[in-house]
Structures are given as structure tokens and as C-alpha cells.
């Protein structure tokens, strides 16, 4: 099932991008998702370009933003003082990801690029449009307890598995992408594509383009990540949510919310945000706004429970994070 690949180590970013211009090439960083895909026959590049030693593993604390190198290990990002103190929701999402062993290997960039955990995608015996475009979706009429209720299409209902991406969308992060023609910047929420009828295409990343950094605003605010799963640890989210908000006296001044485990990409909860921004904090209001989290949801046969679970997850997250309000400075 596995087909051997050739290996080359990139000397620098330019070298990496140039080597990747050839079809059949894959970038290799931490390798934790790639090797699983390769062993399952889901990735079969003829050659891999090892980018693991490029100088993209640093976190720069700049005025107003944190620039996280794409090759920063999840464990190192989680332990970074600025992330721990200024962006607790991000640190919590990182520590809720995978296992300690995987967090020592997996990179921030690789985490954002990881493929779905949909069992029909990972198990090669079933039809899957993401794996074999045009073959159909086995999940829509199959075992779909873990699948998406938001952002789905008739071609694909697989969830995006990253915890980190959910936190970064809530925090308003953007990505630095490097190609042969130079560098461009894309907001993370615009980076991931809805499946539509091209579910095999998951991001706006172009062939040969390399994700080099994640930029996160250092807005003074509260943030938190709440992840619910089927066991206490080392498991993907059934439902998760992240909030980033500025609260003054008992009023929410700004707020961004995103959810995971429920959608085909990290899901911004804009209806909740609109109901909460400027609102006075009280539990009845938080509860009413949380109901809007599931706006537009289209549950499948096995995942209808996610509608209420998402609403309750958002409510608990908001109540735990925003209430009681801080005393004004």
C-alpha cells in the first residue's frame, strides 16, 4: 500500500519553494500527520522536501502582534511566555491538542494543514470525494456521529480537526504564505475553503506555496478555549469553542467566537458575536446569544445532538470566561 519516496533537505525557504515546484512533491515538517497519511496510502508523493531545519521555528514578539514561525513545535508554542500570558485561549487549544509526544514533534503549520479524521477518508475501502473526487460521500448516509452540522455540502460533511485553528480564527490570526513569486498574507478564516463540490481542495494554498508564519494580534483581552471530547484527553473534539473578548465594566466591548468539531472548517460564530457585541453581561443574555451558535445547522442522522451541545458549549465558555466582569481600572 505504501510507495517509497525520495528525500531532500531544503537549504532555505527559497530552496524549499523551488524544489516543491515539481509535481508529486510534499513538504515534510514534523511528519506526524504526513506519516499517518502515507502509511494509510492516502498520501503518495514521489519525493518529500524536508523543511524541518529551516529557521521558521521562532516566535517573535513585536509591537501589537506575535509572529509564530510555522515550524514552531506545538509544545514550544504552548510554553511560550507571551502565548501563556497574553493569549490563554491559544495556549489552552495547544495543550488540548494530541498527546505530549505528538506536541513535541508536530508543528504549528502542520497542525493547520492536517487532514480530516473522517473515518471514511482515513479508511480507503469507502467512497470519499476528498480522497477520490467524484466517488461520493459515505458519511452522509453512514456513521456520521463525528461529522459536521455546519458548512457541509452534498459532496462532503467532514469536520476540520484542528483545535489550534479554532483558537486562531477567534483571535483574528493571519498567515504568511511564501511562493516562488514572493510572500502574501491571508486571514486564517479565509484560508480554509468550504467543501462545495471540490472537497479535495481544502485551503487557498497554491501548489508549491509554503506556509511560513502565523501572525496573531496581541489585543489586550480575555480568551479561552473549551474542548469537549469522548474521553478526557488525547482525542479530537466532539465540540469545541474559543472566545476572545474585551470586557469593560459589565459590558462586552468586542468579541470574536469560533467553534470546532461541528463544521467543515474552523467556524466563526458571527450571529453570536453580533448579539453579544456591546451587550451588558447577564446570564439570560449569554444564554440567548449562545442559541445562535447553531444558526444554519443541518444535522445528519447521527449528529443531531451537536446542535444543543454546541449551544451549551458556547454558553459555558462565555459564562466561565466573561462572568464576573473585571473591576474597571
Amino acid at each position: 500500500m505504501t510507495s517509497p519516496f525520495a528525500y531532500a533537505r531544503a537549504a532555505d525557504t527559497q530552496d524549499a519553494v523551488r524544489l516543491a515546484a515539481q509535481p508529486g512533491t510534499a513538504f515534510l515538517a514534523g511528519g506526524t500527520d504526513f506519516l499517518q497519511l502515507w502509511k494509510a496510502g492516502l498520501a503518495a508523493p514521489s519525493r518529500v522536501i524536508d523543511i524541518g531545519r529551516l529557521a521558521l521555528d521562532r516566535i517573535e514578539v513585536r509591537d501589537g502582534v506575535l509572529v509564530i514561525g510555522a515550524l514552531t513545535r506545538l509544545a514550544d508554542a504552548a510554553g511560550h511566555p507571551s502565548i501563556r500570558h497574553e493569549l490563554p485561549g491559544l495556549a489552552q487549544a495547544l495543550l488540548a491538542s494530541a498527546s505530549p509526544q505528538v506536541r513535541n514533534m508536530a508543528t504549528v503549520g502542520g497542525n493547520l494543514m492536517q487532514r480530516t479524521r473522517c473515518l471514511y477518508f482515513r479508511g480507503a475501502d469507502f467512497a470519499c470525494n476528498k480522497r477520490a473526487p467524484g466517488s461520493g460521500c459515505s458519511a452522509i448516509e453512514g456513521e456520521n456521529r463525528q461529522h459536521a452540522i455546519l458548512g457541509t455540502s452534498s459532496a462532503c460533511v467532514a469536520t476540520h480537526p484542528s483545535d489550534l485553528a479554532v483558537a486562531l480564527v477567534a483571535l483574528g490570526a493571519s498567515l504568511h504564505l511564501r511562493g516562488v513569486a514572493g510572500e502574501r498574507r491571508v486571514a486564517l478564516e479565509d484560508f480554509f475553503l468550504l467543501p462545495g463540490d471540490t472537497s479535495e481542495r481544502e485551503t487557498v494554498l497554491m501548489a508549491g506555496e509554503l506556509l511560513v508564519a502565523v501572525e496573531v494580534p496581541r489585543t489586550p483581552q480575555r480568551s479561552a478555549y473549551l474542548k469537549l471530547r469522548d474521553r478526557a484527553s488525547f482525542e479530537f473534539a466532539v465540540v469545541s469553542a474559543c472566545v476572545a473578548a474585551q470586557v469593560r465594566d459589565d459590558r462586552i466591548e468586542t468579541i470574536r467566537l469560533a467553534a470546532g468539531g461541528v463544521a467543515t472548517r474552523p467556524w466563526r460564530l458571527k450571529a453570536c458575536e453580533a448579539a453579544l457585541a456591546g451587550a451588558r453581561l447577564d446570564d439570560a443574555m449569554l444564554r440567548a446569544a449562545s442559541v445562535l451558535a447553531a444558526e444554519g445547522a443541518r444535522p445528519l442522522g447521527g449528529n443531531g445532538f451537536k446542535v444543543e451541545l454546541l449551544q451549551r458549549t458556547v454558553h459555558r465558555l462565555l459564562a466561565d470566561t466573561l462572568v464576573p466582569p473585571p473591576t474597571s481600572p
Binding site: 517509497p4 531532500a8 533537505r9 524544489l19 511528519g31 502509511k39 505530549p100 505528538v102
Partner: protein
């Protein structure tokens, strides 16, 4: 520019001994330990990073050897279960596993011990709850978890 090759020359220090190896480009550290170095103590369980049986320390940090490509590890140091005892004496953590009866079949034990060594080095073994959370990457299908946690508590609190 380096051109892609099917075989990769690497230098690897394993349990204090340095090796020059020509490894297949797609070989994992786990396969190289078994097939090139005849070190069978590191176990292959799921081979997908889910069970932790293949845990080793790579430059002092715990990783899944089944998800680490050998070609990427040129110049790095690996510690496996075979390198934990010193001068014929068990490491205190190994002794604690025996004293606490922290295993039944033993297949997961090398990975449990390497993971716990990594955890203690990270300073993360301060409470039983923290140990349970931080050992979540290591499965034990015999269910010896309670005794594994006790063994780690003993080793983390004793002289190392």
C-alpha cells in the same frame, strides 16, 4: 540545492553510541531501531502515533518513533529503553515500575517508561492528575494505569 535521494546517509547517536547509517528515505526511527540497530526494546503497537508503545527520547524530548522519519534526524541523539539502566543497575523509574507492579503483559512498558522519563524531565509530574493527563499518549490495554501513576509518583519524588 540538494537533489532528492532514495537512501539517506545520517549520523545518529543512540544510547550514547554514534552510528553512521544509510537509511531508506521512507524509514521511520522505529524501523531503523529494529532493522538497522537490532534494538527491539522500543515496541511497535499501532504504528500510527496513537498508543505510545514506541516512545523514545529525541534530543531529550519524548516522541513517537513511529511518526519520526529517520532521514530527518541526522545528528540527533536518541535514548531508548535499552539505554536507561546504568552500569547494570535499573533506573529508579524502572525499579518503581517493578515495585508498584505497574505492568501485566509488559508490551507497553518501554514506551510508558520513556514517556514518564520525558514527563519528569519536563517537570510535569507534580500531581497524580497532572501525571494522568500527561501520560495520555501511552495506552495500556492490561489496564495497569493506577500502578503506572503510582510508580511515576515514586520516581518523581525520589532521588533520581
Amino acid at each position: 540545492m540538494n537533489m532528492p535521494t532514495e537512501t539517506v546517509e545520517i549520523g545518529l547517536t543512540v544510547n550514547g553510541r554514534s552510528h553512521r547509517l544509510a537509511v531508506p528515505a521512507s524509514a521511520t526511527v522505529l524501523d531503523v531501531l529494529h532493522d538497522c540497530l537490532s534494538l527491539a526494546g522500543t515496541k511497535k503497537g499501532c504504528d500510527m502515533g496513537s498508543c505510545g508503545a514506541c516512545t523514545v527520547l529525541l534530543d531529550g524530548r519524548r516522541v513517537n518513533a513511529c511518526l519520526a522519519l529517520a532521514a530527518q534526524q541526522d545528528g540527533r541523539e536518541i535514548l531508548t529503553i535499552e539505554g536507561v539502566a546504568r552500569d547494570g543497575a535499573l533506573h529508579p523509574l524502572q525499579a518503581a515500575f517493578i515495585a508498584r507492579d505497574a505492568l501485566q503483559c509488559g508490551y507497553c512498558t518501554p514506551g510508558q517508561i520513556m514517556s514518564a522519563l520525558g514527563l519528569i524531565a519536563e517537570g510535569g509530574a507534580k500531581s497524580e492528575a497532572e501525571i494522568r493527563e500527561s501520560m495520555s499518549g501511552n495506552l495500556c490495554r492490561c489496564g495497569a494505569y493506577a500502578n503506572i501513576v503510582s510508580a511515576i509518583v515514586d520516581a518523581a519524588s525520589g532521588p533520581s
